[in-house]
C-alpha cells in the first residue's frame, strides 16, 4: 500500500478531495465569490485567508451547503455537492460564534448530530465520552454552554463538529473569540487533533499569523478572487503581488526600473535616485520596465560598521526603534530617500552604550540579492 504523500498538491495527477470548479456567488448585484477554482487534498489543513468581505466566508458556507453557487460546482470525495442540502453533506462546521445550543447540556450538544443520524443510545454515549476526553472536558458533560469559559465552549464546538466523523471539517474563524494566550495554545491543539483524526480541515481566518501557523496551504482571497495559493513559506517568501507582500507579514516596497538583465540576474535602479540594487528573480521583467522591489524587514542586516559580505549596501540614519525583547524593529531613513523597516534579533546583551544601535545613529544596511523579491507589476 502506498503511503499518501504529506504534500499531495506538489504531485501532478494527485486526486483532489474537495474540488471547487468555476464557482461564482452573487447576492443581487454584489459578487461575493468570482469564478474561482480550487483543489483541496485529503488530510490537508487548508487556510482561506483574507480581509472582511473578501468572500472567504461565503466560500466556506457554500462548502457547508448554506449557500448555493450561482454558477459552478463543488464536489467532495468524488460526489457532486452543489445542490445537496447541509443536512445531507458529509461535512461539519465549527461556527465562529460556536452556535452551541444553549438549552442543551454539553453532552446533548455533542450527541445532537449522532441522534439525527439514528445512532443508538449506547454508541452515542461512548462516542460522546470519547470526544469529551479528546477535548479534555470529561467532567463538563452535564454543564450548560453558558456555564463554560470561552475556551471550553470552543472545544465543545470542535467536539460536536467532529463526533460525526465528517469527511471535511469547516472552521469559521475558530480562534477569533479567544484571547491571545489561549489562541496560541489552541492553534497547536487544533493541529494535533487534525493530525490524529485525519479529517480534512478548511479554516477561514483573517489573521495571517494564524493561517501561517495552522495551514498546510493557504489561499489568499481578495474581492472574491484568489490572489495566491501556496504553502505558507512559499507565499511569504514569494508573494506574487504588492497586496500579498503587504498582507502577509510586512514588506519594504521600493519602486525601481530594470536597467540590466542577464538571465535571472537583474540590476534595478531606484525610481527617484541613482541608487542601483541587484536582485535575482525569475519574474519576466525586461529592461526599462517599472516594477517594485519587496524586502522583508528581517532579511535586511543592520550594523554600525560596513557589511562587505552583502551585495546590496546602503547607508542610513535610525529614526525610530521599537524594542520588543527578542528582536528590535528599526525605521531607517536611507541615503536614497526611502525609509526601510528592519528587524534584527537582539543577540548581544549590551548594557553599555557604543555597541547598541540607538536613535540618530548612522548605520549600514545590507541584503543578499537572493532576498530581494521582484513583484509582478
Amino acid at each position: 500500500m502506498n503511503q499518501a504523500s504529506a504534500y499531495p498538491w506538489r504531485e501532478a495527477g494527485a486526486t483532489p478531495f474537495i474540488s471547487i470548479k468555476n464557482v461564482t456567488k452573487r447576492f443581487g448585484n454584489f459578487t461575493a465569490v468570482d469564478d474561482i477554482s480550487l483543489d483541496i487534498y485529503k488530510g490537508e489543513l487548508f487556510g482561506l485567508l483574507g480581509g472582511s468581505g473578501c468572500g472567504k466566508t461565503t466560500l466556506l458556507r457554500m462548502l457547508a451547503g448554506f449557500e448555493t453557487p450561482t454558477t459552478g460546482s463543488i464536489s467532495i470525495d468524488g460526489a457532486d455537492m452543489t445542490d445537496v442540502p447541509p443536512y445531507e453533506r458529509p461535512v461539519n462546521m465549527m461556527f465562529q460564534s460556536y452556535a452551541l445550543f444553549p438549552h442543551m447540556s454539553v453532552e446533548k450538544n455533542i450527541a445532537y448530530g449522532l441522534k439525527r443520524d439514528g445512532v443508538k443510545g449506547a454508541e452515542v454515549k461512548e462516542r460522546v465520552a470519547d470526544m469529551l476526553s479528546m477535548v479534555e472536558l470529561g467532567d463538563f458533560g452535564k454543564r450548560k454552554p453558558r456555564q463554560l469559559s470561552g475556551g471550553q465552549r470552543q472545544r465543545v464546538a470542535l467536539a460536536r463538529a467532529l463526533v460525526k466523523r465528517p469527511k471535511v471539517l469547516l472552521l469559521d474563524e475558530p480562534l477569533a473569540a479567544l484571547d491571545k494566550r489561549l489562541r496560541e495554545q489552541t492553534q497547536f491543539e487544533l493541529m494535533n487533533i487534525q493530525d490524529r483524526t485525519g479529517v480534512t480541515f478548511v479554516v477561514v481566518t483573517h489573521d495571517q499569523e494564524e493561517a501561517m501557523t495552522l495551514s498546510t496551504r493557504i489561499a489568499v482571497m481578495d474581492a472574491g478572487k484568489f490572489m495566491q495559493i501556496g504553502e505558507p513559506a512559499d507565499i511569504y517568501e514569494n508573494p506574487a503581488t504588492r497586496y500579498i507582500a503587504n498582507f502577509i507579514g510586512s514588506a519594504n516596497l521600493i519602486p525601481v526600473t530594470v536597467i540590466d538583465r542577464q538571465q535571472d540576474k537583474l540590476r534595478l535602479q531606484h525610481e527617484s535616485s541613482d541608487t542601483v540594487f541587484e536582485a535575482i528573480s525569475d519574474q519576466p521583467a525586461a529592461v526599462g520596465d517599472n516594477t517594485t522591489l519587496a524586502l522583508r524587514p528581517e532579511k535586511i542586516l543592520i550594523d554600525k560598521s560596513p557589511l562587505p559580505d552583502c551585495d546590496n549596501n546602503v547607508q542610513g540614519t535610525v529614526k525610530e526603534i521599537a524594542y520588543l525583547g527578542k528582536i528590535s524593529t528599526y525605521r531607517v531613513v536611507t541615503a536614497f530617500g526611502e525609509t526601510l523597516e528592519v528587524t534584527a534579533p537582539n543577540q548581544v546583551r549590551t548594557s553599555g552604550a557604543g555597541h547598541r544601535i540607538e536613535w540618530d545613529d548612522q548605520v549600514y544596511l545590507g541584503w543578499s540579492s537572493y532576498s530581494a523579491i521582484l513583484l509582478s507589476s
Binding site: P86, N92, S97, H103, Y112, Q147, K164
Partner: protein
C-alpha cells in the same frame, strides 16, 4: 444659600436612592390600581347583598355600639360552587380562551417568524401592519365584525353571490363568531412577544442544527421551538388572561349563545344588582388566573436555581 444646600441635599438623596425610587414607581402603581381595588372587591365578596346603597352589608358592624362585630360570609363563594352555572361558565371561558390561545399561536407563530425573516423595510412595514389596528377603537372593530358576519352581512352576501350557499348561514351570535373576534383582537399580543423573542434568536443555531444532520422539521422541533418557548409563554399569557375575562366580544358577537364569565359578571352587577356575588365571581376569576401563573414562576425560579 440654604436653598441651594437643600437642593444639593435632595440631589444627593435622589442619586443614592434613585434605584429605590425608580423601582418604587411600579410598586406604587400596582398598589394603587391593582391591590387596593382587589381588596375592595374582596371585601364586597365577603359581604351580603341588601337592598340599599351601596347594596351590600358592611364588613364591620358598628350598630351594636361599643366594639364593632366582624361580619364575614363565604356564602357567595359557596353559592357559586353550588350553582353549576358558574362552574360551567368558568370552564367554558377557560375552554374558549385556551382554544383561542392555541389558534393565535398557530397563526401568530408563522407570522412572527416570517416578519423576523423579512429584510429591511419590509420587516418594518409588516410590523406596522400588525400594530395598525390599534389605531382604531377596539369597539369599532368588533362592530365591524358584526357587519361582516351578520345574516345579511358581507361574508354571507358574498358566499351567496358566488353560489357556494343559497341562504345565509349562521355566523354571528355563535361560538365561531366569538373565536373569530378573540383571535382577531388578540393576535398582535401573540405576535409581538414572539417577534421580540425570535429577533434575538441566533440564526447560526438553526444552521448548526442543519449542519449536524437535522432536516428542517427536526431542526424546528429540537432547536427553534425550545428556544422560542419564552416568547410562546409570554404571548400565550397575554392572550389567555384577557381572553378568559373577555366581555365585549362574547356580548356583541356571541349574543346569548356563548357562556363566558365576563358576561355573567356584568349581569350580576347590572341586571341582578348582586354586588357581593359579582365580586365573588371576580375574585374567583383572579384566583383561577393568578395561581397557575405563580406556580409557573416558582417552577421557573427553581429551574434557574438548579442550573446556576
Amino acid at each position: 444659600m440654604s436653598i441651594s444646600k437643600t437642593h444639593a441635599g435632595f440631589g444627593n438623596w435622589l442619586q443614592s436612592r434613585w434605584q429605590t425610587v425608580v423601582s418604587g414607581i411600579p410598586f406604587f402603581w400596582l398598589l394603587l390600581f391593582f391591590l387596593a381595588p382587589f381588596f375592595i372587591v374582596l371585601k364586597i365578596s365577603l359581604a351580603e347583598s341588601i337592598i340599599a346603597s351601596p347594596p351590600f352589608t358592611r364588613l364591620l358592624d358598628w350598630s351594636g355600639g361599643g366594639l364593632p362585630t366582624l361580619k364575614v360570609s363565604i356564602d357567595n363563594f359557596a353559592y357559586m360552587w353550588e350553582d353549576s352555572l358558574y362552574v360551567r361558565t368558568y370552564l367554558s371561558s377557560l375552554k374558549i380562551a385556551f382554544v383561542s390561545t392555541v389558534l393565535c399561536l398557530l397563526i401568530g407563530y408563522p407570522m412572527a417568524y416570517a416578519i423576523v425573516k423579512a429584510e429591511g423595510t419590509t420587516r418594518y412595514i409588516l410590523l406596522l401592519l400588525i400594530i395598525l389596528p390599534f389605531w382604531t377603537s377596539f369597539l369599532l372593530r368588533v362592530y365591524a365584525w358584526m357587519g361582516l358576519l351578520a345574516d345579511q352581512g358581507t361574508l354571507n352576501s358574498f358566499l351567496i353571490w358566488i353560489g357556494v350557499i343559497e341562504k345565509p348561514i349562521r355566523l354571528l351570535y355563535s361560538q365561531f363568531a366569538v373565536y373569530v373576534g378573540i383571535v382577531y383582537t388578540y393576535l398582535p399580543f401573540m405576535i409581538l412577544p414572539l417577534y421580540a423573542n425570535m429577533e434575538k434568536l441566533d440564526i447560526s443555531l438553526q444552521e448548526a442544527a442543519a449542519d449536524l444532520g437535522a432536516k428542517p422539521v427536526a431542526g424546528f422541533f429540537t432547536v427553534t421551538l425550545p428556544l422560542t418557548l419564552p416568547g410562546i409563554i409570554a404571548g400565550s399569557l397575554l392572550v389567555f388572561i384577557p381572553a378568559t375575562g373577555e366581555f365585549v366580544i362574547p356580548d356583541l358577537l356571541g349574543g346569548g349563545n356563548v357562556l363566558m364569565i365576563g358576561r355573567v359578571l356584568y349581569s350580576e352587577f347590572n341586571a341582578n344588582h348582586d354586588w357581593p356575588v359579582a365580586s365573588a365571581v371576580a375574585i374567583a376569576l383572579v384566583i383561577v388566573l393568578v395561581v397557575p401563573m405563580m406556580l409557573y414562576h416558582k417552577v421557573q425560579a427553581a429551574e434557574a436555581l438548579r442550573e446556576s
